[in-house]
């Protein structure tokens, strides 16, 4: 499971001009701060579930580098992210309102309360592989709109190793390559789909390796090295932005926690497995880099971690304050233009349930 850097057709991917800036010290500190925020919020959310504040949560412990690294490569003025259900770290990095994001885990609204259009972050979505094609369609729309100065908007589809087995993902890759759509398929290969390890899921062992079959470049990277992820995603985005077509990025990472708060990983893997397969904690790895490069010291980390705690507490307060949406919204959002049948049902619901 040790992730190894594998650059399938790296050469075809131009280096983006942003790469150097990405490595500037200020940016590096931003990246760390975000990693700390995400780690803290993720840990907190698990605690909230234990405390009964939210009914469930899907932790992304261990995938912070993959998600934050990818998130930093997104231009949120013109790109659009199509997440699944475990992309809290991408959302955070993109600046999605995290109380509104967490509302879905509080069972308030399935898609989350945030505004996907303003956030450039599609609604939270639980059908595995379900949103990958949307990224392709959206991206093809950017091609049809024509490139503005600086290139095309890029659609980023986030999917897991498990999702790669879905027929929709194949259809998406084939459509994207045929349409030359500006899409990045960002695969977080975290070793598991609930209890099924990648070896029993991904024949051939690598999602990135499938890209060649569509004539598409791919990057397989160490998904726990946040700078490697950032750089690879930037290169992939730059490639797509330039109108050169889709790219697969497979970030090799590890789901260090349970699949969700109702999962019991002890049934299918041992703590020893987790320790060996998980490798070094991505935050600790990045901390070492920053220290080695002399960019940050203990006080910076302490401060960042404390700030992250503060932000998580603020988000917690927001989540606690979130009230159920009025039942009438069940009817309000079905259509843009409601129907007589639905109107009658809403009226009956009000009479019988709200007694009005």
């Amino acid at each position: 499971m040790a992730p190894r850097a594998l650059a399938a057709t790296l050469d075809t991917l131009s280096t983006s001009p942003a790469d150097d800036a990405a490595r500037g010290p200020a940016r590096l500190l931003d990246v760390y701060r975000m990693l700390a925020n995400v780690r803290q919020l993720d840990t907190s959310a698990v605690a909230w579930q234990r405390q009964g504040l939210i009914p469930g949560y899907a932790p992304m412990l261990g995938q912070e580098a993959a998600q934050v690294g990818a998130g930093f490569a997104v231009d949120k003025t013109r790109d659009f992210v199509f997440p699944s259900y475990r992309e809290m770290g991408v959302a955070y990095t993109l600046g999605v309102n995290m109380v509104d994001y967490m509302s879905t885990h509080k069972a308030i609204w399935h898609g989350g309360l945030y505004d996907p259009v303003a956030s450039h972050f599609a609604p939270f979505q639980a059908v595995v592989g379900g949103s990958v094609l949307h990224a392709v369609g959206w991206a093809h729309g950017q091609t049809l709109n024509g490139a503005s100065l600086g290139g095309l908007g890029v659609g980023l589809a986030f999917l897991g190793d498990g999702a790669s087995s879905q027929g929709d993902v194949h259809e998406a890759m084939n459509f994207a390559a045929i349409l030359k759509a500006p899409v990045v398929f960002f695969v977080q290969n975290n070793g598991w789909a609930i209890s099924v390890p990648t070896e029993q899921q991904v024949a051939g062992g690598s999602v990135a390796a499938r890209a060649a079959g569509y004539g598409m470049p791919a990057l397989r990277i160490d998904g726990n090295d946040v700078l490697a992820v950032l750089e690879a995603t930037q290169r992939a985005v730059a490639h797509a932005r330039a109108g050169l077509g889709p790219v697969v990025v497979e970030a090799m990472t590890y789901r260090r926690g349970p699949h969700s708060t109702s999962d019991d990983p002890g049934r299918y893997r041992t703590l020893d497995d987790e320790k060996i397969d998980g490798g070094e904690d991505p935050l600790r790895r990045f901390r070492s880099v920053l220290v080695e490069q002399g960019v940050a010291d203990a006080s910076f980390f302490d401060k960042s971690d404390a700030d992250a705690q503060t932000r998580a507490d603020e988000i917690r307060d927001g989540v606690v304050a979130l009230e159920s949406r009025p039942g009438s919204e069940m009817f309000d959002f079905v259509f843009q233009e409601s129907t007589p049948t639905l109107g009658a049902q809403a009226r009956q619901w009000r009479e019988e349930s709200e007694h009005v």
């Binding site: 898609g111 379900g130 094609l133 949307h134 959206w138 950017q142 309000d332 843009q336 129907t339 007589p340």
Partner: protein, 346 residues
């Protein structure tokens, strides 16, 4: 719905000669106008480009509007629908085609879990103006899966609207109307009627209200036949025959399969007091069950006989040779009429 009657009357009283178009031509014309007036509109699917679709419904559109606006996709229906959803998220107005009804099944996951819910999931911020054209129903002696009735499946799904035209005039106007709606609409084209010509008044669409709900295709007083798609003309034939025996059947063309025009149904049947619903799809939990349930409730006091359902059987759509045994034929509809007319409380 009073508008319904009005629009039906319209066809009778107007004086300028009507354009004679087949439904396939009427739809082709409507699509051309939609592409002309709405530059966010895109047509795509299997073989809709150069070939003009296997039914030639998109004939000439790629030539006219270019391969950016009208394009062929790879052979993957889930891909077509999923791409349409993404395009709608990007502000486009996709008008995808599924080549035959039976090949909409691979797209059901995208239709039900994504297309029908995106507006809801996004709290109205990502409307799905997607007009999905599906050549539908049987009657053309086609290979397996080339003639199915998916209206019960589609119309059961919250978040979808479903409509089926019965003649070229309706096809032209209902498609333009459906395409103007900011919600996903499934447009079920009765392929058995693609080639029948009839008069079309291109200018008759000023009144949007006349495009909503059902229409009375033929007024009558002894019983109401409720139908949609290709079954409307069959019911009109039945009404013609019954009239020879002095039985005046009203034919209600439902048109909108979701939302269902409950008021229109109730109005007709509270007059005729007897109802036979006719459809091609399987019997159990067919749309006919919903119609029967609605009418049995709204006309409980006035109904003089149980609502009859003359439908396809609960068997897979048979091969061409047996299709006339499967689709409600004139005899079977007449038996249904007879049952409602002869019913006496026990």
């Amino acid at each position: 719905m009073s508008e319904s009657t009005k629009s039906a009357t319209l066809e009778i009283v107007r004086e300028t000669p009507l354009l004679q178009l087949s439904m396939q031509q009427a739809i082709n014309r409507a699509l051309g106008e939609i592409l002309d007036t709405d530059d966010r509109a895109l047509i795509f699917g299997e073989d809709v480009g150069l070939l003009g679709g296997v039914f030639r419904v998109t004939d000439g559109l790629q030539q006219r509007f270019g391969a950016n606006r009208v394009f062929d996709t790879p052979l993957a229906e889930s891909g077509i629908l999923g791409t349409a959803i993404g395009l709608a998220m990007a502000g486009f107005h996709p008008i995808p085609e599924v080549q035959f009804d039976g090949f909409a099944y691979p797209a059901v996951n995208q239709i039900i879990t994504q297309l029908a819910r995106m507006n809801y999931r996004s709290r109205g911020t990502l409307p799905m103006q997607v007009t999905l054209r599906v050549p539908s129903f049987g009657g053309i002696r086609a290979p397996e899966h080339h003639g199915e009735s998916l209206e019960s499946l589609f119309a059961h799904v919250p978040g979808l609207k479903v409509v089926s035209p019965a003649n070229p005039q309706q096809a032209y106007h209902l498609l333009k109307h459906a395409a103007s709606m900011p919600d996903p609409v499934i447009f079920m084209e009765p392929k058995a009627r693609y080639w029948n010509k009839a008069g079309v008044d291109l200018a008759a669409d000023e009144d949007i209200a006349s495009l909503e709900g059902s229409v009375i295709a033929r007024p009558g007083k002894h019983a109401t036949l409720i139908a949609w798609g290709a079954m409307v003309s069959r019911c009109l034939q039945v009404a013609e025959l019954a009239a020879e025996d002095g039985i005046e059947l009203e034919v209600l063309d439902l048109r909108w399969l979701k939302p269902i025009d409950e008021a229109g149904l109730a109005a007709s049947i509270s007059r005729t007091r007897r109802a036979v619903v006719v459809h091609e799809g399987p019997h159990t939990i067919g749309l006919g069950a919903e119609v029967a349930a609605l009418v049995s409730q709204s006309c409980f006091d006035t109904l003089r006989a149980p609502v009859e359902r003359v439908t396809g059987f609960d068997v897979p759509y048979p091969s061409g040779d047996l299709e006339d045994e499967y689709i409600p034929n004139i005899d079977r509809i007449l038996f249904g009429v007879q049952r409602v007319l002869e019913y006496r409380r026990g």
